[in-house]
């Protein structure tokens, strides 16, 4: 048994409700109906749930891009009222600035924070090296593959050194091989930088592979169906996918999820 260290909560969500108003022809959609969720400092937590269960909505509320209808969302004990560079986000779709080069994309968050030019260059170069993008620094997004684009998006979100990184299915559009490379890559970044990560995915194996804890959401409206701790060692690699504990956990989460989808 590892020693349980009491860590301060980085993110705390309590009783979160989010309803999209309807109109005369469309009924209102309750995307999230009471979610409680915590992420400790330095933790990597995954959220899995069926398509349309409100995962993106949840991240957008944490990111301050959508207001909550009820409930509490706090980062380090401070209420979220709008977007800010303290919560880095990587979006489900494609959100790089198409006219900026890789280096300029990554530098954007440093420019808005008025980081001096010399330091900016240093930090951008550092991230480019970490992300293995050195050969691509002066290319524009159109010239990159999907995996590279997501690496740029992650680097861009990390550049302002956010308190928490919010990832919305960052590897959803990638092929199976690239996905595996990317998840090891993300684990490496997480260990090296020691940042807090909340990641949404619909890939159960990916969630168990990456996370210290997995939240399974009910489908429509989203609630927490289960919270599954993943007591696997932190320095995981491809070999872990053959570990019986890993397989058990994966199947367990999968079963909960399938129960949610079958309504």
């Amino acid at each position: 048994m590892s020693l349980t260290i009491v860590r301060p909560e980085k993110l705390e969500i309590e009783g979160l409700v989010k309803t999209f108003p309807g109109s005369r022809r469309r009924p209102a959609v309750t995307a999230i109906d009471g979610i409680d969720l915590r992420v400790s400092a330095g933790e990597l937590v995954c959220i899995v749930g069926a398509s349309g269960c409100g995962k993106s909505t949840l991240l957008n509320v944490v990111g301050g891009l959508e207001p909550a209808d009820a409930g509490r969302v706090e980062i380090d004990g401070e209420a979220v009222v709008g977007p800010g560079a303290d919560r880095g986000m990587v979006f489900q779709g494609y959100s790089l600035f198409p006219w900026k080069t890789v280096a300029e994309n990554i530098a954007f968050g440093l420019e808005t924070a008025r980081v001096p030019r010399a330091e900016r260059r240093e930090r951008v170069d550092e991230l480019i090296a970490i992300m293995g993008l050195a050969a691509w620094a002066d290319r524009i997004p159109r010239e990159l593959s999907g995996g590279m684009r997501q690496r740029v998006a992650i680097a861009r979100a990390l550049a302002p050194r956010p308190d928490i990184l919010l990832l919305d299915e960052p590897f959803g559009a990638l092929d199976a091989q690239t996905k595996r490379v990317m998840r090891d890559f993300l684990l490496g970044v997480w260990r090296d930088i020691g940042t807090t990560i909340l990641m949404v995915t619909h890939d159960v194996e990916e969630a168990v592979y990456l996370a210290g804890r997995v939240y399974v959401l009910t489908s429509h409206p989203g609630r927490v169906a289960a919270e599954v701790p993943v007591p696997l060692p932190a320095d995981r690699g491809p070999a872990i996918t053959r570990d019986p504990l890993f397989l058990d956990l994966r199947d367990h989460v999968q079963d909960i999820l399938i129960d949610q989808v079958r309504v």
Binding site: N60, G63, G64, L65, G82, P83, G84, A85, R87, G88, M89, F91, G93, Y94, S95, L96, F97, P98, W99, F108, G109, T112, A113, I140, R142, A153, R156, A157, A159, P160
Partner: protein
């Protein structure tokens, strides 16, 4: 076991005992298809949106240019009586006469200057208000009704009024160019700004950008190629309104020269000016396309 298909397209498959099963008979309903091939062959020149061979492209463009010139030659050689159509050679002589009279460059410059000033003002207003309109619903709510209304008042109908109010010098002509194009430019720039993807704007917010930064550093650069397109498309409208203004009141200018030529029944000169209008249009179009390629190489047209 999944149902198997035989050659004729009949679905067969052993149903498990005790289970009744509908077997769907289906026939190929594909019409024009040769035996021994699949799919329909498409002619190289008539594929939707596909590139055509370069030789064909250049050849077709040359033919597209030559056809009207040939038609022109044909018509002018047969023209007589009241319906005089000057030949290309005569038109060239007309242009030379205007040049030798020392008025052609002056007219060209007078008209171009009015367009340059008027259209720059128009685009400046359209960019500032249009980006605001496409970005903030409040600005949109405020500006949409008056622009929608003004857009439908033909600017040509304002010519007499403007001449009455502002006299016959440069001011009314430039004002008319602005009035005649700014509402179109404004609404189209607003549409361009509205097309900036939500996720890019959201990403900027989470990178610490405020609303003004988003407008200046995200909405504006993303809209730049679209704005240049808008400028290119509506430039023709600006010329139209200028011509009407010059026809009614001017001392110099290309359209003014057309009226003069009409008074002296110099049809070759009228033709020469029309051709010059066309050339100005093509050149400015090419220039704006080149500007778009240079300013926004990331957005291929």
């Amino acid at each position: 076991m999944p149902p198997l298909k035989d050659d004729t397209g009949t679905t067969t498959g052993a149903a498990p005992p005790g289970e009744r099963r509908t077997v769907i008979q289906w026939r190929r309903t594909l019409g024009a298809q040769r035996r021994g091939t699949r799919g329909r062959r498409q002619h190289a020149l008539l594929r939707v949106r596909d590139d055509i061979p370069a030789a064909w492209r250049i050849g077709l463009m040359a033919a597209g240019l030559a056809t009207p010139i040939l038609l022109w030659l044909l018509i002018s050689s047969g023209s007589s009586g009241d319906l005089i159509v000057p030949s290309p050679a005569e038109t060239w002589q007309g242009a030379m006469r205007l040049h030798d009279d020392g008025v052609l460059l002056g007219d060209f410059w007078a008209s171009s200057r009015r367009i340059l000033i008027g259209y720059t003002i128009s685009m400046a207003i359209a960019i500032v208000l249009g980006l605001g309109m496409g970005t903030f619903r409040s600005v949109e709510a405020f500006l949409e009704p008056p622009t929608g209304f003004m857009r439908y008042i033909p600017a040509t109908a304002l010519v007499p009024l403007m001449l009455f109010w502002l006299g016959i010098d440069e001011t009314p002509k430039i004002t008319l160019i602005v009035l005649g194009s700014v509402f179109f430019n404004l609404l189209m720039v607003a549409d361009v700004a509205r097309a900036v993807p939500r996720e890019i704007i959201n990403a900027s917010y989470t990178l610490g950008a405020g609303r003004l930064t988003v407008l200046r550093r995200v909405v504006l650069p993303h809209s730049l190629p679209g704005i240049i397109d808008v400028a290119r498309i509506n430039l023709a409208a600006a010329w139209s309104i200028l011509v009407v203004a010059e026809l009614l009141a001017a001392e110099e200018g290309l359209a003014f020269r057309i009226v003069r030529a009409q008074r002296f029944r110099q049809i070759d000169e009228m033709f020469a000016i029309l051709i010059i209008f066309g050339i100005i249009g093509v050149v400015s179009d090419l220039a704006l396309r080149a500007l778009r390629r240079r300013a926004a190489p990331w957005a291929r047209a």
